[in-house]
Symmetry: D2
Subunit: 471 residues, 4 copies
């Protein structure tokens, strides 16, 4: 693989893995490669490919049953528990399953061969265990205008030249969580297109190191603490090993060969692709249940360190955190258990329940984080840097005054408090709060879908029948 062209805080770096700001994010991703190897998780993390019969990572899998859909969310909860942050590999899996079912339907309608091409692409990705970045969100410019009406057309990803052997594309994809640590970008249109938007109706895959791609690394809360790689820096980071990341990917006239094009101008299928991708990806927020487990664990631990774990209000708040977290889990399970087989053969989650599940994800994590805020006490924002705790000059006095319950080393209390800061205000909060709000579509997007997917006519009929109203 070639080196990527990444801008981080003005610095142009051309490396892949080892910049200190990126490392924690790479660790989160690496985790899912490692857990596959652990016996305990093997059944969840890997399985036999329905295409090749080989053992593959579940992230590269086409769901074959509701049981597969349930295992998907169990895997996501597990990874959330293991890294306490976003692990940046779901989008590709979700993109793959939605492109799979859509290409089947396009081919049927248009006699194209996108589906066959896409199966080949999946086989390769399964074999190479690729991390695929599902690329959907365009910058969008003026939201009051269609793609083809924009002053600068590039604010929507589009084809700038058609050649015999492929196309040249231009544009950008924003909010790309998994872009920097991916092998491929699976490009999908950002919304349902109309006839006049044919050039914007493109689904294709592009290698992460393709000529013409530039990455702009997003800066996030508390990011600079990562630059201090001392043990004290680790403590002040809260979660020293894992982190999320986001970036803008700019595609400046990138070539895509024909065998990597999976949709090209079939505007009437954009809606289907967007809707099913969004559905799969809303299901994927099961990961936040795993991170929720971590917040609950942190609340329970700090209440013990503070010596208040038996207070009835503390116990009740922890029960409520669990209740909310398990309600989220119920959403993950339910939309999976009610999944159905698509014409293409893979399984699609129940779209209504997936939207309902995600809508709760835009709310409960904020409430769970508020409870953690409450239980933690205020010390996590008034505590000096860990540097002061190791400084021989000041260590004594700080250990004296920050001691909690007897038997718990002050340093452990400090570590847990910084970890909590990370979860509710710091880098993990970006994933647990902001991403929960806007990832896979902002709250209003789910409401529009819920409104569309419920059967209101039937419900009105129930009421009228019971009230004995004839119309």
């Amino acid at each position: 693989m070639k080196l990527l062209k990444i801008y981080i805080h003005r610095l142009l770096i051309k490396i892949h893995l080892d910049h200190q700001l990126i490392k924690a994010s790479m660790n989160s991703l690496a985790d899912n490669y490692e857990l596959v190897e652990e016996l305990e998780y093997r059944d969840l993390m890997s399985l036999k490919s329905n295409l090749t019969g080989e053992i593959i990572n579940r992230f590269c899998h086409l769901h074959q049953s509701t049981d597969d859909l349930i295992k998907k969310v169990k895997m996501q909860r597990l990874l959330g528990q293991k890294c306490g942050t976003c692990f940046q590999r779901c989008v590709g899996m979700d993109g793959m399953n939605s492109v799979y079912l859509t290409t089947f339907e396009i081919d049927k309608a248009h006699n194209t061969n996108y589906h066959t091409r896409f199966i080949e692409y999946i086989k390769e990705s399964q074999k190479k265990d690729w991390v695929i970045d599902g690329c959907m969100t365009d910058p969008k410019g003026d939201r009051g205008k269609r793609p083809s009406q924009q002053k600068d057309l590039d604010v929507y990803f589009h084809i700038v030249e058609k050649r015999d052997d492929g196309v040249i594309v231009r544009g950008a994809k924003a909010h790309q969580t998994g872009a920097i640590n991916s092998h491929e970008h699976l490009i999908m249109p950002t919304l349902a297109m109309r006839n006049e938007d044919k050039d914007f109706t493109i689904c294709c895959s592009i290698p992460a190191d393709a000529e013409g791609i530039t990455y702009f690394y997003g800066r996030q809360s508390c990011d600079l603490r990562r630059l201090d790689e001392s043990p004290e820096g680790d403590i002040d980071c809260g979660n020293p090993v894992y982190g999320g990341q986001e970036c803008l990917v700019v595609f400046d006239d990138v070539f895509v060969p024909n065998n990597r094009i999976f949709m090209n101008g079939e505007t009437e299928f954009c809606g289907r692709l967007v809707e099913t991708f969004a559905g799969y990806h809303r299901q994927s927020y099961a990961c936040k249940v795993g991170v929720g487990d971590v917040l609950i664990g942190a609340a329970a631990t700090i209440s013990e360190y503070n010596g208040v774990e038996k207070a009835s209000h503390i116990r009740d708040k922890i029960t409520e955190m669990n209740h909310l977290n398990e309600t989220l889990w119920a959403g993950s399970i339910a939309c999976s258990a009610c999944g159905t087989k698509t014409p293409a053969g893979n399984f699609l989650i129940d779209l209504l329940l997936a939207n309902v599940a995600k809508q709760n994800v835009t709310r409960f994590p904020f409430e769970i984080a508020r409870f953690l805020h409450d239980i933690a006490g205020g010390l996590f924002v008034t505590l000096p840097s860990a540097k002061d705790l190791v400084n021989p000059e000041t260590k004594g006095v700080l250990e004296k005054y920050f001691a909690g319950v007897e038997g718990v080393p002050t340093i452990n209390r400090i570590k847990m408090l910084r970890f909590i800061e990370n979860l509710v205000l710091g880098r993990a909060a970006v994933g647990y709060l902001t991403e929960s709000m806007h990832g896979a579509g902002s709250p209003q997007a789910q409401r529009i879908m819920i409104n569309r997917l419920v059967n209101m006519e039937e419900k009105k009929k129930f009421a009228k029948n019971l009230a004995q109203i004839d119309e």
Copy 2:
């Protein structure tokens, strides 16, 4: 069947079906007998018995798979939609499944033969399509004392005499929703008993018309409107056909033959029985999702009758009602989909998720009802009686002033408003609100279980690992 001895507002009646206060409740129950006959619902409402191979009503079934558990909740949602109130047959089904699994475990531990007996009992109930009243809640007297410490022992159901051919029992069961319309009372202990409470550890079945049983009919909001059986009375009832009901059942030295005793003194199994029954029954609150559909339908209908259905705040509130209702549904589905096989062979729901689901049922219906309150407008509490609307003297002026949107007969608007009154303040509110709060255990009961069923040690471990705390 003999006549029952029922007190209704001081009146001692000895009838079963046709008192005008009871009729609506009997209709709710009858519904599930009738839907079995409809082709559309046959698969949901009936199936082949695993014991006899005969086609039986699902209410008499031992769940054989997670698919069975899911179909159970689908049937319950359907019935809620069809009658807009409690249909009073779930408790027996839930009692049956929990007694089934517990007797198996008792027999294994004690070499008793309760399980075989109970299978015979189930076979008979399946053949005769019995409605069984699951009887658990004792009056309890002074809640600070154990059963055997009560001044009046009868406040806990107990054995007063042991005979060779059976036992004589005494006590009462409170809050009995399905008692009056049942063939049998399946008695279960009300809580986990201790050794000194052996005489209170009794599980058995008693015919509804057994010598020594008296019923006291509960009075409920707006009950007297049912006494007016004119067409206007029907309108003022809101839901003229269906209703719920509650009663106290007093057992005054009733004989139970040996073949109807399924537990007798095995105190250590009371907890298991209570916990699994409560779990199954918390799952059963899926019915409220069906009633929720009716409230949503009523909200949508009245907003159209008022001509405000396109107002953005109305649409948003209806979306929220749907969102909350489907979140409840996700709970019903999830605890079913995560069910597991018991040693006895039937399937038990996921207990944690069933408690989480019910906990939400103690909250969201109140919120959904509040939205209906909001959308309905205040007319449903200021409207004159339907009598005034049919009175030729006043009909004209009232139709003039209560007209809504053009094209909707005023009488339909009135019917829908009275129906809404029924749902949020009247007889159906008792089921949708109060029963949602306290049925199958009050909110705190679920919180205790949630607290017990989550794995807190694991969660603390996740947090400590990530914060790199070694202990």
Copy 3:
């Protein structure tokens, strides 16, 4: 006073005070006459008139200071505590203060003499201690059309004939809480009118027994229980002495003499009148804080009768009920304390805060009632009629099984449970819930006002200044 023409459930009655369905409502009103006499409350309930110097009932007063505004809400909370329901006299006081300030402004603009007339009217009402019904809400017919565009013009109250000595009016006023127990109806336009709606722009006062008025009594939850006037009937009523009521008042060509006309065609002042009346009346929902005190007292009492008052979750829920109730109180106080003097000389509450206060009233009572539902336990909907408790045949067995904690007579527990039913589902619930939702304007009405009254430009400026954005 002549007899009123009232239809109650088809019955045409011509009485004022003593019909058994109405009596409880009259009691609520009577209360405020009686409390004036009690030394303890004299300062709150009465004061010296600024017009005549005589001692008057505060309900007839023109607020002269923020202290007066604060005393108004204190009086309302007190009355709510004393009768646990709506006492039906606020609307007139609120109408009086808003008509007072508006007539002043009309006179100034138009050289009319409405204000002088109105002062005379107030003097008379103060002297005779009139209950005045503030009449605002028209039936409105098709909400998509203006008053003058309606097919049947009568759905908006309007002038049908102008005479030298006065006008003839026709129409109806809906949701009239205090109509039946009032001496006068103070008619106000229902919304901001336009030029073409001049005939609908009428503010005037009409005696309750005027020729041409008919009343239609609203039927409400559990109303029929009032018909049983036995001691057991009282128990089953829950709150035997007090109740609210609602009715539709139809004005069929009623004559209004000139000296009772306070606005006639000055459409540009309708908005001012509606807005200030709504503001005063939203402040008036302070009464619900008093009723809230009653619900909290009921929760505390029943928890003691059940023997669970020390359980931490019960205590915490009662604390939350208090917290919500006092938050409502803070709203009542704040909009009063921030009141300002109008050009006419009386004091107007802070409109923004009054709308905010009322918006919370559309929410918190539902939450407080839900807590009472929770704390009460389910018995209040499964309990037999009090008739069964006094029946010698059944008294014994019911007292045995419904006994709570030792030392509390079962009958007291029963009374408290029926009282709770009244508060959350019965007749008082109509006032505490439905009226809190829709009285003085439905929730959306307040949101529109809040949106209009906040200074958004200033807030954007704060944000831009801090972010150092120059525009």
Copy 4:
């Protein structure tokens, strides 16, 4: 003034005002000195001292009326609007008023002369316009033990030596918001003491630069961004000018002369001091209403920059933000308007309402911040550093892709997004969220007070009277 001894991230600095990490915090404080000079705010920010007749800053004032109490909260809202963060001067004002009323009561009971001394101290502070740090919270060590039972007595601030001319004290005060920018520390006991805790019962004042004091600067979310003092650093800071701060103050054997001791061993008055101080300080959270105005302004601005300000769900969310913010304001006003004169002559807020107000502050800011999170869109966590936006190499492409609505310079959109990050995750979030939760006492502290201050007996009486229960 001597230099302070401050540790910031291990660095021992001996400066006062100009360290780049501290500067923004000093600016917040400076603001209140500057606003005094502005004509527009003079009446709010300054007034005539009741002690000396001189014009003083309101922060040094003893409240003389409810009007003064209301002006206090208006000043606090104003300052919150002006700096969007904590301005660190309230605690001293609150301490001053509570010590004033308590010393009066001690003197009356014990014939001491603390009150006279304290008046002299106030006069000096008014004259010199001192910022006084109200120092209450001790580290507390093992929360299960009393002060005198702690293994290390120093975890509670206490007297280690009594001398003729004064005392020597030792201990620490945690979570000190205003310590570093203060002239004096007004020490108060941290809780109600018992007889055996006499040495811990000390109230006194100590100059900030006294021998023996060390400061440990707290590290907070995104603190390191402050180190970059370039214009781009300012943008990335979000709020470049203002910030809060926190520290631990350690007192290592500091001498306090007699004339600065205001309580010494009178344990029975600790409760009074703590309770009134907490009450005043809970009122002071009015500042968060001002910061709330800033969040609302940011929400409105970004919705315009994104071109979605007319979407009904956006408008509705902003209305809700305003509603919540004004509900907080109602709490601030209400507890002030219901204030009463103390025996010492200054005015005390209504304690119940102040606790209720603060309890809402532990909730609504989290909800308001969640709405801002929602309205902002996800860009504020995926956006590159401002460095990339000014880099000529990348400026063009970023301006192209981050353009919002036409006419708004991209840089303004970026500035507003970073400002939002600051408010919901960054340094201002520490004040708006964490401090709102725990400042002036954590949520449970207010619940205990609410529970204690409401009159439950009266409420039970209301309910029993209405249900006609005689006991």
